[in-house]
């Protein structure tokens, strides 16, 4: 995780980029941050363009529908290269990486995920100009009343 000092020196070197947020969203534990940095490297991550659709109140954390879409014209010179989804409190911070092309036509993917507990989910898009954009959502996971033992 970059310190504030690194941030300042980095920002000083890349003056053309209007940095809105440099670090991933606040209050994300170290594992999540490391996982994000493994994908993004030291590049700044801006907030916006990405939309994350997850029911705010999940009926069962074992199977949660999720859609990520990115505002992009999806043309040859302006498209979404990839979408990366992370979570905060599962045993592992990665959820999935999804690689698109200009011929995707629409920058949108859906899948079903597992959320071990009430937590934050972060979606990051890498655009064709190698800029990174993110959104996060707080998801409340209700627990099942009568669970079984693993058999």
């Amino acid at each position: 995780m970059p310190t504030r000092r690194q941030f300042l020196s980095l920002a000083g070197g890349v003056t053309v980029i209007p940095v809105l947020t440099l670090r991933p969203l606040d209050a994300t534990p170290a594992m999540l941050n490391t996982a994000i940095r493994n994908v993004v490297g030291e590049a700044p991550i801006r907030t916006g363009k990405v939309k994350l659709d997850i029911p705010p109140l999940v009926e069962n954390g074992n199977t949660v529908p999720m859609t990520v879409s990115v505002a992009s014209p999806m043309t040859l010179d302006d498209y979404v290269k990839s979408i990366h989804v992370f979570n905060e409190k599962n045993p592992q911070p990665n959820i999935g990486n999804f690689y698109l092309t200009p011929s995707s036509g629409r920058a949108q993917i859906s899948t079903r995920i597992r959320l071990a507990d009430t937590q934050k989910v972060v979606a990051i898009a890498r655009l064709s100009d190698d800029s990174f954009w993110q959104v996060s959502a707080d998801i409340v996971v209700t627990l099942a009343a009568c669970t079984e033992e693993l058999n």
């Binding site: 074992n62 199977t63 949660v64 859609t67 979570n87 599962n90 045993p91 592992q92 990665n94 959820i95 999935g96 990486n97 999804f98 690689y99 698109l100 092309t101 011929s103 995707s104 036509g105 629409r106 949108q108 993917i109 859906s110 899948t111 079903r112 995920i113 597992r114 959320l115 033992e149 693993l150 058999n151």
Partner: protein, 105 residues
């Protein structure tokens, strides 16, 4: 085991079409324990690829946080008639394929 593929049978050239896939897999996380305390080893699909007439148009890396019986939906532009080929690979040498054809007018 079964896979469910949903690709429109017909499309107009230039249409943006949705492709949906659902495949049978337990997606065992590798983080669960049996009642006796033994770790249940990880057994997941780690990669999914879709090719359209041989060209890769979509790929995904999957992690244990993807729910059992993985569902994926994505989009592509209908360019020409032909075949979509789907491939799932994963732990323990898991590999399975499916295909669907489309007529583009």
């Amino acid at each position: 085991m079964a896979a469910l593929i949903n690709v429109p049978a017909k499309a107009k050239r230039g249409d943006i079409i949705e492709i949906r896939t659902l495949t049978s897999h337990i997606m065992e996380t590798g983080f669960r324990h049996t009642v006796e305390g033994a770790l249940v080893p990880r057994d997941i699909i780690t990669s999914f690829t879709c090719r359209y007439n041989g060209t890769e148009i979509f790929r995904a890396d999957l992690f244990p946080a993807i729910a059992a019986n993985p569902y994926l939906s994505f989009f592509t532009i209908a360019k020409e008639s032909g075949k979509f080929e789907f491939e799932w690979t994963g732990d323990n040498g898991y590999s399975t394929t499916a295909s669907a054809s489309i007529t583009v007018e």
